[in-house]
């Protein structure tokens, strides 16, 4: 069974269709790279899958969650969707008033109802794995771009989504860190997480040896 199945996806912005008839799928543990020029619709596809933007046509099936353009999700359906799909944004969007550690354990405690002790221990583990274990007490504005990006990845991973979407994850990383991130993603995938990565970084795509899908003018080629 596919981890994610997208069929005939349309997304409109006003009268303009910014994503047209996009269909693709990925198995559990796949890394799928969504490549294309700026404005080709990569980010829009990710936002639609994450349930952040409404879809105008098509279906998205992620495990037990079925999103259909003709039947918009209600609040509980949307909540379930957010449990199945995580997203790391191009800009980190960390919660500005909380420390790195607090950013990571907030959702496990309040959304998954884990104990704070358990969630905090897991958060430290994730931050250690991503190489920012020494920055747990820093506020977002005190982190470098690369550090903030890795804290944001840890935050998305902390709720354990089977599908993780990443928008230009290497944009704020130097080449050395890019290699490390590729290794991290391979490790995640081998653990069963399905990754869909929007990027135009060819070296990174080669480093994580993933399947490539190209987008052009809102269509998948």
């Amino acid at each position: 069974m596919s981890a994610i199945d997208v069929a005939g996806l349309y997304v409109r912005r006003g009268n303009r269709a910014v994503v047209q008839d996009a269909s693709f799928g990925a198995e559990r543990g796949d890394i799928l790279a969504l490549m294309g020029a700026s404005g080709s619709g990569k980010t829009t596809v990710l936002r639609a899958i994450a349930g952040l933007d409404p879809i105008a046509g098509g279906t998205i099936i992620i495990g037990d969650v079925h999103v259909d353009a003709s039947r918009p999700l209600r609040a509980d359906g949307r909540r379930l969707l957010h449990r199945r799909v995580g997203m790391v944004f191009q800009f980190h969007h960390l919660f500005a008033h909380l420390t790195a550690l607090h950013n990571v354990w907030l959702a496990p405690v309040h959304v998954l109802h884990q104990s704070q002790q358990q969630a905090e221990a897991h958060a430290r583990e994730l931050l250690d794995q991503l190489g920012v274990g020494h920055r747990v007490d820093a506020l977002p504005h005190e982190l470098s771009g690369g550090e903030a990006q890795r804290v944001a990845i840890a935050r998305a991973l902390a709720v354990g989504p089977p599908v993780l979407l990443m928008d230009e994850p290497t944009a704020s990383l130097d080449p050395e860190r890019r290699g490390e991130l590729a290794a991290t993603l391979r490790q995640l995938a081998s653990g069963g997480t399905t990754l869909i990565v929007a990027t135009h970084d060819v070296e990174f795509v080669n480093a994580c040896s993933c399947r490539v899908m190209r987008m052009e003018d809102g269509r998948i080629r």
Binding site: G51, H82, F89, L94, H97, H110, V111, H141
Partner: protein
């Protein structure tokens, strides 16, 4: 080239005004007299037939004096509380507005001979006529009067002697309407005023027993004794030939008291205050002695100001948060209704809102003065707070809200855990600012009979006849209240932005 600043423009305008005004004052010769037409009949009031003119017995006395001096009278409208200070500064020549003869006034102004004797009378509801006959019957009861009057002094004396509670008003209409409503149990004021109000309110009666008596005099700047002496002669002449009597008869204020007064005044050069004044004030105390005497009352009033400001701010914050959330998250009809409410509150004066709450609603719901003050200040500031919070909520980057949704937070959780806390930090400087403003705006509640710091200071200043020391003490108390708040807020902000350069 240097651009004109606002200061230059203001100074320029002042110079033009200053140059222009003496010419206006000299030609033709005028007797400029001050009064407050808001006080109403029979003293001075706007002519119902022509609101640009004033009528009243004081108007006719002014005409009489002006004629005697060979000048033409010109009325200058001034708030009652400012009449003394204005005449002392030279804004006009004389005040004629039911001004009481007191030792304090004698000490610092030039005062004419008395031209009318009044009695202080106690007005009560007809149903209470048998049990509230005099002040001593009103232990623990609220008795109203105007501040800085002989009646107020009599009440503060009765407060010490028999435990009545003095309540001060800024005008002489609302004490009687509040008496009808049962907010207070008696009013002590001049017979002239009481007679009019009792005639308008059938449920009220004035007790016959005289509580005190005093005289109306004209007051002039202290250096203006030459004009005062000429006016005294004109008044005496008018007492002898019956012209004053005619005026008071016309306004239904003539009685035997006046006859006796005129006989005494015209008989010989005498100091009327020395033998007959019933004023409670003895000699004016020294300023520092006065501060020592008034300080407990001022501290008490400062506590009222602080307490009222704190609870009002709490209400403003609570309502402000709800309104702001409604405007950011609510459906369109709710947003429109809340926007309309905010604009109405922000677009109308707080003073008007207080009047409406306390006096306007009195026929529907009788709010106690302190509660009306709390509600008025709290709801007024809530409108401003809600705008601050709305702005702060909307300033939180949309990306963080997307991130929160993607993590599975509900809207409510996002507001409470992510958006709200950050918005609060953004709003804090403006909130601190508003709290300090509220602390000062709370002085407006004196119009609905709450005696807070500014009102107590004004009573103090009126009693000693100077604003210098009371003003300084009052300013120091306001600073003592506001500086710690500003300081605490700054520390909190610094704590949040640690390491940020």
């Amino acid at each position: 080239m240097k651009l004109l600043t606002a200061t230059d423009v203001v100074f320029g305008a002042l110079i033009v005004l200053a140059a222009g005004s003496p010419a206006v004052a000299q030609n033709p010769p005028e007797l400029r007299w001050g009064g407050d037409a808001e006080g109403g009949a029979p003293y001075v009031e706007a002519d119902p037939g022509d609101p640009t003119k004033v009528v009243g017995y004081e108007v006719e006395i002014a005409q009489l004096l002006a004629a005697g001096l060979g000048r033409s009278p010109r009325f200058i409208q001034t708030a009652f509380a400012s009449l003394e200070a204005s005449v002392a500064r030279g804004d006009f020549d004389i005040v004629l507005d039911g001004i009481e003869d007191t030792p304090a006034r004698r000490a610092r102004l030039a005062i004419t001979i008395p031209y009318h004797q009044f009695r202080e009378v106690l007005t009560v509801r007809a149903a209470d006529a048998a049990r509230f006959r005099m002040l001593a019957d009103l232990r623990g009861r609220r008795v109203a009067t105007l501040s800085a009057t002989l009646a107020y002094e009599l009440l503060t004396k009765a407060q010490a002697e028999s435990g009545v509670i003095p309540i001060t008003y800024e005008d002489d209409v609302h004490p009687y309407s509040d008496l009808v409503l049962g907010r207070i149990d008696a009013v002590l004021l001049d017979d002239v005023i009481a007679a009019r109000r009792v005639a308008q309110n059938p449920g009220l009666i004035s007790q016959p027993a005289e509580v005190g008596a005093g005289y109306y005099v004209g007051i002039l700047a202290p250096g203006n004794t030459a004009l005062r002496d000429r006016i005294d002669e004109i008044l005496k002449a008018a007492m002898r030939d019956g012209r004053l009597e005619a005026i008071f008869r016309k306004w239904k204020m003539w009685n035997d008291d006046q006859q006796r007064l005129y006989a005494r005044v015209t008989a010989a050069p005498l100091d009327i205050a020395a033998d007959t004044s019933t004023s409670g004030t003895t000699t004016a105390p020294g300023q520092w002695e006065a501060v020592r005497r008034y300080l407990p009352a001022l501290l008490n009033a400062a506590l009222i100001t602080l307490g009222l400001s704190c609870v009002s701010m709490a209400l403003a914050v609570a309502v402000g948060v709800v309104v702001a959330s409604g405007r950011v998250y609510g459906p369109k009809p709710m947003r429109l209704a809340l926007t309309a409410w905010v604009e109405t509150i922000r677009g109308t004066p707080l003073l008007l809102q207080l009047f409406v709450l306390y006096y306007g609603l009195a026929t529907v719901v009788e709010l106690p003065a302190m509660f009306a003050a709390f509600l008025g200040l709290g709801l007024n500031y809530a409108a401003y707070e809600s705008e601050i919070y709305r702005g702060a909520l909307e300033a939180i980057p949309a990306g963080q809200l997307d991130a929160a949704r993607a993590l599975g937070f509900s809207e409510r959780q996002t507001l409470l855990l992510i958006r709200g806390p950050q918005a609060f930090r953004l709003a804090l400087p403006a909130m601190t600012n508003d709290f300090v403003a509220l602390l000062k705006d709370s002085s407006l509640v004196s119009v609905i009979t709450v005696v807070e710091l500014t009102k107590q200071t004004s009573i103090f200043a009126n009693n000693i006849g100077s604003w210098v020391v009371p003003g300084a003490v009052c300013a120091a108390l306001y600073l003592l209240l506001s500086l710690p708040i500003a300081h605490a807020a700054r520390r909190l902000e610094r704590g949040w932005s640690r390491k940020r350069v």
